[in-house]
């Protein structure tokens, strides 16, 4: 008897099917992550309908989107922004009323929701994970089906621990070869979006495969999956392997003792079968990739750091030409100028894309090397580093990374989403240009009329010191001779 070959996505889907009717499925949700911004209306809806949270034990709350990145120990009452304070207090009340575990602002375990889940061992292979935040795709790095949902769906999951879903199609993105020095997961992710476009993944779940993906650390895989949503895909996945298991082992919520062995054999089944059918396959030569940077206002507006700003007239359709003209105008760039000439005012190292310990280390390594060459943050640049969680911050401080950043003139902050979406006081001023390790360069994302260039942590660190965008592979030797 031949059985239909299944992809990793198919397997997770099948394992969570509660019911299926007329092409619409009810999927069971293993982990529901919540935060202050996209939940107040969901809890209000529950209350109004007299409904309860079905599985508080499968729900975890953090405060991340609008918390300040200094003075967190002073508590919520000291948060200056009145509306943010109200949201934080509303979340605290809602989790208390419903018996949901919560890491409040100032708790060392608190941080950006997509950093906290994996760090606590809550994120595990073969799971379904949702959160009212689009970058939930991050958790796909563990071979979990993870995606963002809206507030009505948050309410649905709270009440039923399930979600109504239509099945997506399967896409495989294979990144072959080996990354060169100075080329990171962020560059791979940007290159993938540049290749497929921001709507290229719409209707698909992407599984990342190939030697480059296998060779990435768990942090790197999280960065890659984090950005899948910017390619429009429903979710990104990497099949779990020994690296995945080693990362989870010993984390607070990881299975222990005999349960670990049961879990391990269960997790190991979550890989695509040989010859499983993918509706679309994209192959990228990882060895040919170089550090990438965005020039426009969509994550697909990406070029190698060695490249020039494209001419809007070179785009194929009138829509794209108009969008490119608008983007150049907004970004204050000229067609044809080398992107490395773009002088920057601000640097942001942080966000759920790049705020884990490895990102901190990569940035700090560049800063330290520059420091040894007598270089500090350029006088006209304001640079900030925002670790992804209290635990990342603590680890970085134990390793002395904070001291390196501070000595070079970086501002070392407390954890949170910060200038990724600029809902708290950390924002760009109109016209300011920023090298940012976050995930969105949309108009106004980091502050009204602010200009964002998405880059890797190493590239952001180098830009802070050079004062303009630079190729992290060559900048020190070229600039100091």
């Amino acid at each position: 008897m031949t059985r239909a070959r299944k992809t990793l996505y198919d397997k997770i889907w099948d394992a969570h099917l509660v019911n299926e009717q007329d092409g619409e499925a009810i999927l069971y949700i293993d982990l529901h992550l919540i935060h202050e911004v996209t939940t107040p209306q969901a809890f209000a809806g529950l209350r109004a309908a007299g409904r309860k949270v079905r599985r508080p034990d499968r729900t975890l709350a953090v405060a991340d989107h609008n918390i300040p990145t200094e003075g967190q120990a002073l508590g919520v009452d000291a948060v200056a922004d009145e509306e943010a304070r109200l949201q934080l207090k509303t979340l605290a009340r809602n989790v208390k009323d419903n018996g949901i575990e919560f890491f409040p602002m100032g708790d060392i375990r608190n941080g950006i929701v997509h950093v906290v889940g994996p760090e606590q061992g809550r994120t595990q292979p073969g799971m379904t994970i949702v959160c009212g935040d689009s970058h939930t795709s991050t958790h796909g790095a563990f071979g979990a089906l993870a995606h963002g949902i809206g507030t009505s769906e948050v309410e649905h999951v709270l009440a039923t621990q399930t979600l109504r879903q239509e099945k997506a199609r399967n896409m495989k993105v294979r990144v072959d070869g080996q990354l060169g020095p100075g080329v990171t997961a962020k560059d791979v992710a940007l290159a993938v979006i540049g290749e497929i476009g921001t709507a290229g993944g719409t209707g698909y779940v992407i599984e990342f495969a190939g030697d480059v993906v296998r060779d990435l650390s768990m942090e790197g895989r999280m960065t890659l999956c984090n950005l899948t949503i910017e390619g429009g895909a429903k979710a990104g996945l990497v099949a779990p392997d020994d690296k995945t298991f080693a990362y989870i082992q010993g984390k607070p919520s990881a299975p222990k003792g005999a349960a670990w062995d049961i879990a391990l054999s269960y997790w190991k089944s979550f890989v695509s079968d040989d010859d499983a059918h993918f509706d679309r396959t994209v192959v990228i030569d990882g060895s040919a990739l170089v550090p990438m940077v965005t020039w426009g206002t969509s994550p697909e507006d990406v070029i190698p750091v060695t490249g020039n700003v494209p001419d809007p007239e070179s785009f194929a359709t009138p829509d794209k030409r108009a969008a490119a003209h608008r983007a150049l105008d907004y970004m204050g760039l000229t067609a044809g100028q080398p992107i490395s000439e773009a002088r920057i005012d601000r640097v942001f190292i942080g966000s759920c894309t790049n705020s884990r310990i490895e990102d901190m280390r990569a940035a700090a390594a560049v800063v330290q090397e520059a420091f040894l060459h007598g270089r500090l943050v350029a006088p006209h640049v304001t640079a900030m580093v925002v670790p992804g969680s209290g635990l990342v911050k603590e680890q970085a401080e134990e390793e002395g990374l904070d001291a390196i950043f501070k000595a070079a003139g970086f501002d070392w902050r407390e954890p949170g989403c910060s200038m990724c979406l600029a809902m708290n006081p950390d924002k760009l001023q109109p016209g300011e240009r920023c090298a940012s390790t976050s995930n969105r360069n949309f108009e106004g994302r980091q502050g009204r009329a602010g200009r964002t260039h998405l880059v890797s942590p190493a590239m952001a660190a180098a830009a802070a010191i050079a004062g303009h965008l630079v190729d992290v592979r060559t900048w020190l030797t070229e600039e100091t001779v």
Partner: protein
């Protein structure tokens, strides 16, 4: 949820592609704990300049598009952040239907969960609608039962829609109440899961 059956209304053309939810409703309006009152933030940076003055040329600020209930937009509408404030803001402003060549996934789901109808038409059909809506007559009709959009000049376009979603939209069904009718299936699933994956039980 509000039911959607038929809509006759003024259509505003917004011919930009990749309009993201940060543009539909910027983050400073997300600090509310309510669903209502978000119209003030809709397309804020398109409608108002840095000093809070109306930008006269933006389509929704033009007198002839006052009270529009339909938006015709470029490709990949609603990409970016998952914020449901985007459909809430559109609906609070009075926009009950958006027509585009494609919608980002989460935004699309959020629309269906609130009774805002996302209609997908072909690029050449959007071009016709866009053109006509820029003329003197901006009235379009959308009929969900027959799955048609009628342009200002009377051209009729058919659109596809998932039958399950269509039915729920027509009836304005409460999704949670409906799922809870499958409570026994969820119970069954949970008891199997407790056996298969005991480490996930507290």
């Amino acid at each position: 949820m509000q039911a959607f059956t038929r809509l006759d209304g003024r259509a505003a053309p917004l011919s930009l592609a990749n309009i993201d939810t940060d543009q539909i409703i910027p983050k400073q309006f997300l600090k509310t704990v309510e669903r209502e009152g978000l119209a003030k933030g809709l397309f804020y940076d398109f409608r108002f300049d840095g000093d809070g003055n109306q930008i006269a040329e933006f389509v929704l600020n033009r007198p002839e598009y006052k009270g529009s209930s339909v938006l015709i937009a470029g490709d990949n509408f609603g990409c970016g952040s998952s914020r449901e404030h985007a459909p809430w803001a559109l609906m609070d402003y009075g926009i009950m239907c958006v027509i585009s060549t494609s919608f980002a996934d989460i935004f699309n789901n959020n629309c269906f969960n609130n009774g805002l109808l996302p209609v997908v038409l072909r690029p050449e059909e959007i071009a016709v609608l866009m053109d006509e809506a820029k003329g003197g007559n901006h009235m379009v009709s959308i009929d969900l039962a027959t799955q048609t959009v009628v342009s200002p000049s009377g051209k009729s376009f058919h659109f596809d829609i998932d039958p399950v979603r269509k039915d729920k939209m027509l009836k304005g069904l409460d999704f949670i109440g409906e799922t809870l009718m499958h409570g026994a299936d969820i119970d069954l699933y949970e008891s199997k899961r407790a056996l298969d994956r005991p480490w996930l039980e507290a």
